[in-house]
């Protein structure tokens, strides 16, 4: 059975859920081989085995973290040449997509980004994407080279399958050109204790209607174990950090439940959340376009509706 390379999405060995999703998808296409780049493998090992990684390629050299994506693309291109995988799966993050882009050029291979599903089809690997603000579903196949697919977080149901991975350290001569962009400083962001936006099963977002007070949004999010998002209007006003912006120019999310509070639902925002499974909105304006999308909507003041809902949810959880 052909190997399927999965580039492990992690922060210092803390494996993100996307990796388990990719390993699950990889098992449909062949035998998953995780590619672990950077530090912290000891912390990641158990998780990779639990999701069926038959093999782990380990690249712990600092060259991969001291530079932007080019060295990782060179490493993967070398592996693609050596093992002729059935596919390469990479998380659909900014870095992930760029690694995939470079790898596609290096190996003359077709590329699909933001796949929400990956299956073994008759003509090879078949991918599904959701485009134009979620209004179209696109199916694609790669006809040239090795299918390179970036997988959108939270799209594929995780199934466990235990394996004891064989480990192989890999080192590749990284070109001078790939070392040209140097990371000169890196500051870790403060952890909020909430799940990360792209991966969260539930997201509660606030917009212009919060008037800058995200208190009720955060409280409701915490009651639901949710991540907190923000609309562009709220971010532009300086009320919430840009890293939490949901939408076309921010993070694209696809959770089980999306709650939009005080968000009108401009097209750019909808583009980033329209594929959420269940959509709920709270807004004072009954005419807000967000209500066209909802499974459940409350026309009302978020400052009274959210605290009441928070209290009821907490009661329900007992």
């Amino acid at each position: 059975m052909s190997e399927v390379l999965v580039l492990v999405d992690h922060v210092d060995g803390d494996v993100r859920k996307t990796t388990a999703e990719m390993l699950t998808a990889a098992r449909r296409l062949g035998e998953p081989s995780a590619v672990f780049v950077g530090q912290g493998y000891a912390a990641a090992k158990e998780e990779l085995g639990r999701h069926g990684a038959a093999k782990v390629y380990l690249a712990e050299d600092a060259v991969y973290t001291d530079h932007l994506v080019a060295p990782v693309a060179e490493l993967l291109a070398d592996l693609v040449g050596r093992v002729s995988p059935a596919a390469v799966l990479i998380a659909s993050t900014n870095d992930g997509k760029e690694i995939a882009g470079r790898l596609a050029i290096k190996t003359s291979s077709g590329l699909v980004t933001d796949a929400v599903d990956v299956q073994a089809g008759e003509g090879g690997v078949t991918t599904t994407q959701s485009v134009f603000a979620g209004n179209y579903t696109v199916t694609s196949q790669v006809g040239t080279g090795t299918p390179i697919v970036t997988v959108k977080p939270n799209s594929i149901g995780v199934e466990e399958s235990a394996a004891t991975p064989v480990e192989e350290a890999v080192s590749v001569e990284i070109s001078e050109a790939a070392r040209a962009a140097r990371v000169t400083a890196r500051t870790a962001k403060e952890k909020s204790g909430r799940p990360s936006l792209a991966e969260a099963a539930i997201v509660v977002s606030g917009g212009r209607g919060t008037g800058g007070d995200f208190g009720p949004v955060e409280a409701f999010a915490d009651a639901l174990g949710a991540a907190v998002g923000a609309s562009r209007a709220a971010v532009d006003a300086g009320w919430y950090p840009h890293s939490h912006q949901v939408g076309q120019t921010g993070v694209s999310v696809s959770p089980q439940l999306y709650v939009a509070a005080g968000i009108s639902g401009a097209i750019q925002h909808r583009a980033g959340m329209q594929t959420s499974k269940t959509i709920v909105a709270v807004n004072k304006d009954a005419e807000a376009p967000i209500f066209e999308l909802v499974d459940y909507g409350v026309v009302g003041d978020l400052f009274t509706v959210l605290p009441q809902a928070t209290e009821k949810v907490q009661e329900h959880q007992g």
Binding site: G101, F132, T137, G145, K189, G300
Partner: protein, 259 residues
């Protein structure tokens, strides 16, 4: 300082976007415009040149109408335009796009910086800047929310969910910028008038030495096999809060096992 800004002409996201029968983007049904995210790239290039010296060339590939994207950029203040126009380009994927743009950039001569937006608002792949860097053999410093150019070095700040990073590279380099980097200017009346006199060159694939067999729908490395409009969402229930809206919301979530 010579800067090339790559821009794209896209269907307006406010419109009803869709696909042709060959699964390429429908460009007839919806008005097109300069991709909103490219305005930040044009603005940043203008700021760099205004702070020192040099020239901003705006580069696009696409059908006749794509000249609209160049025109808007010239009205903002870019100095000249290059339009790669060739029937064979239609349906090109990201790999072919990066090939054509890379050859056009080479033909522009001495280029210190290539600046792009973070993604186009139609394909939203975010891969062309990295592909360009790969093809041109240049460093890429992408997703910049701040940018400075000094003494032959470009330094950017970029953020992701976990980190805030400072990255630097020697010129020439490929840069992509986010919508956090600046506030794009509106074309002034003077700018609109001046744009009419600015040079726009039109290059064919032959001018770039690119063979038609390397681009277009037929040469795509990835084939779209199907495009389906998603069935419209069924209208959900909307209630008006008269004191119990929050409780009703909590009950809805409990019924769906979401809380």
């Amino acid at each position: 300082m010579n800067i090339v800004v790559c821009v794209k002409y896209v269907p307006d996201a406010q419109g009803d976007r869709g696909f042709e029968s060959d699964h390429t983007t429908d460009r007839e049904g919806v008005d097109g415009l300069l991709s909103e995210l490219d305005e930040y790239a044009v603005e940043e290039a203008l700021k760099i040149v205004e702070a020192g010296e040099g020239e901003v060339t705006v580069l696009t590939m696409g059908p006749d109408d794509a000249a609209t994207a160049i025109k808007k950029s010239l009205q903002m203040g870019a100095h000249k335009g290059v339009h790669v126009l060739d029937d064979a380009i239609a349906g090109s994927d990201s790999a072919a796009t990066s090939l054509v743009l890379a050859e056009a950039i080479k033909k522009c001569g001495e280029v210190d910086l290539v600046i792009t937006g973070l993604a186009s608002t139609d394909g939203v792949m975010s891969v062309v800047p990295a592909m360009l860097a790969e093809r041109l053999g240049l460093p890429q410093v992408t997703f910049a929310s701040e940018l400075t150019v000094e003494g032959g070095t470009v330094t950017i700040r970029r953020d992701n969910e976990s980190f805030s990073e400072t990255v630097e590279a020697s010129l020439p380099a490929v840069v992509s910028v986010t919508d956090q980097i600046n506030e794009p200017r509106y074309p002034s009346f003077k700018g609109i008038m001046a744009a009419k006199k600015k040079p726009v060159e039109t290059w064919s694939l032959a001018d770039l030495g690119v063979d038609a067999s390397q681009v277009g729908l037929g040469a795509a490395w990835t084939t779209v096999t199907d495009t389906q409009a998603r069935p419209p969402r069924e209208a959900g229930e909307v209630v008006t809060d008269e004191g119990e809206g929050g409780a009703a919301l909590a009950q809805f979530l409990a019924d769906r096992r979401l809380a």
